[in-house]
């Protein structure tokens, strides 16, 4: 609520599209630090180094800003899911680690984006909550497709309960993603995929 201090520097003039992107980046940073509750037009403007009227030129208000932000981040995440779904299926031994690597490298490279996926849903405003729930469901679909391909390549009988498999795998993927978010130096993607490979190797023909 305190007025911007006199050190206000005028941001360089930018076309509205570029300005919009910058403000979305600012909002994403605020959410990463303090959740959706930390986002107001005022905070976004200040964080983005512009005056409030400039922010209102880009978005009519907080709801529109959230909608634009979630649309952008959702598209980014879905691009990664599509890439993960394209993991090499010719060598089933590589499939689990390749899929996991694609996901975790994306998390490492854009942590603020992926943090959205792991925010407790009950803390989110209605609009973002629905969109992010749908993104989560998409991740489950990717995992299901990966499991089906692995199962087919290994001749798993139908008694191997795919629904249970996907629940358990999903929990393990989430654990790995959260570790990378928490401490990427201690838990780099390579560490997580190496652990996975070392266990699966026990079952690979020597």
């Amino acid at each position: 609520m305190s007025p911007p201090r006199s050190r206000r520097r005028y941001a360089a003039r930018l076309p509205v599209e570029a300005r919009t992107e910058e403000l979305l980046d600012a909002a994403l940073g605020l959410i990463a630090d303090g959740g959706f509750g930390a986002v107001s037009m005022h905070a976004v403007a200040r964080h983005g180094g512009v005056t409030r009227p400039v922010a209102y030129d880009c978005f009519s208000g907080r709801d529109e800003l959230f909608a634009a932000l979630i649309a952008r981040e959702e598209a980014r995440m879905r691009t990664v899911f599509a890439e993960a779904a394209r993991a090499d299926r010719t060598d089933p031994r590589r499939l689990p680690a390749d899929t996991l690597a694609t996901l975790l490298e994306a998390v490492r490279d854009a942590p603020d984006t992926w943090r959205l996926l792991y925010l407790p849903l009950d803390t989110l405003p209605e609009g973002p909550r629905q969109r992010l729930a749908s993104v989560r469901a998409e991740l489950t679909t990717v995992i299901r497709a990966g499991f089906d391909a692995y199962a087919a390549a290994h001749g798993f009988p139908p008694e191997v309960d795919a629904e249970v498999a996907v629940h358990l795998l999903r929990a393990m993927v989430d654990m790995a993603g959260q570790r990378v978010l928490l401490d990427p130096d201690r838990y780099p993607p390579e560490r997580m995929t190496a652990a996975l490979d070392s266990v699966l190797d026990v079952f690979n023909p020597q």
Binding site: D122, H154, P157, D161, R179, A195, V199, V202, N204
Partner: protein, 241 residues
């Protein structure tokens, strides 16, 4: 906010030890049914049929109440878990003897490689451990709902306490893995594998608690035993083409 409506009935006088337990029982029900946010001093007083000051006689504030509750549930859970400790030992011979089913196809031939036999034995012990754990969870659902509750809405000290319990569990799982898988896997990353095992165990427990009809413990143990059986068969040398 507002006081409970006039229907207030006097609670029977209870000795302090029993009263404290009763308050924790009501708090546990609130936590298990409606989540941490539902556990307020007022809600606990109302559920126990006492005036709010009675709750304050026992607990300084909401955080103290939740702390005491989580401590009590942790110790109950620990007692249960210790009761089945031998079955929880991943990689112990207890599970391996039932591996005959899984090793049968591949084990006959000594060329099956270490994957098949070892994997089947390990899988069998994991199945035994999972079954023991999920039975413990099913035997005390409210306790486990509390322990596995989302940290949203929990006071920081209580969330930290639950986190410490998780880390302690992690260490136990790690040492169990070190003794079993570690013998087979050079440079096993026990921490990461243990975290994966715990994540899987936790989601299984949540499903058993939230959808017991759809996900009874037996469904998970059927899964692990068929999965490790299938993996063991897949790792056997290629059948004649």
């Amino acid at each position: 906010m507002s006081d409970p409506p006039a229907r207030k009935k006097r609670a029977r006088r209870l000795p302090p030890v029993q009263r404290r337990e009763q308050l924790l029982d009501r708090a546990l029900e609130l936590l298990a049914e409606s989540g941490a946010a539902a556990v307020t001093m007022q809600a606990v007083a109302r559920a126990a049929g006492v005036a709010r000051p009675v709750v304050y006689d026992f607990f300084a504030d909401r955080a103290a109440l939740l702390s005491a509750l989580v401590a009590r549930e942790e110790s109950r859970a620990l007692t249960d878990v210790l009761g089945v400790a031998p079955r929880l030992q991943i990689g112990s011979p207890l599970g391996a003897d039932s591996g005959a089913d899984f090793g049968a196809d591949s084990g006959a031939d000594s060329g099956a490689g270490f994957g098949a036999d070892f994997g089947a034995g390990f899988g069998a012990s994991l199945t035994t451990a999972l079954q023991a754990f999920l039975e413990v969870v099913q035997g005390r659902p409210s306790t486990w709902r509390a322990l596995l509750a989302s940290p949203t809405g929990l006071p920081a000290e209580v969330a930290a306490r639950l986190e410490r319990a998780r880390e302690a569990t992690l260490e136990v799982v790690e040492s169990s893995l070190r003794a079993s898988l570690g013998a087979r896997i050079a440079k096993l990353d026990t921490e990461v594998v243990a975290r994966a095992v715990l994540a899987a165990g936790e989601v299984a427990a949540r499903l058993v608690l939230t959808a017991p009809t759809e996900f009874p413990p037996a469904r998970f143990t059927a899964f692990t035993s068929t999965l490790f059986g299938a993996l063991a068969r897949a790792s056997a040398p290629a059948a004649p083409r």
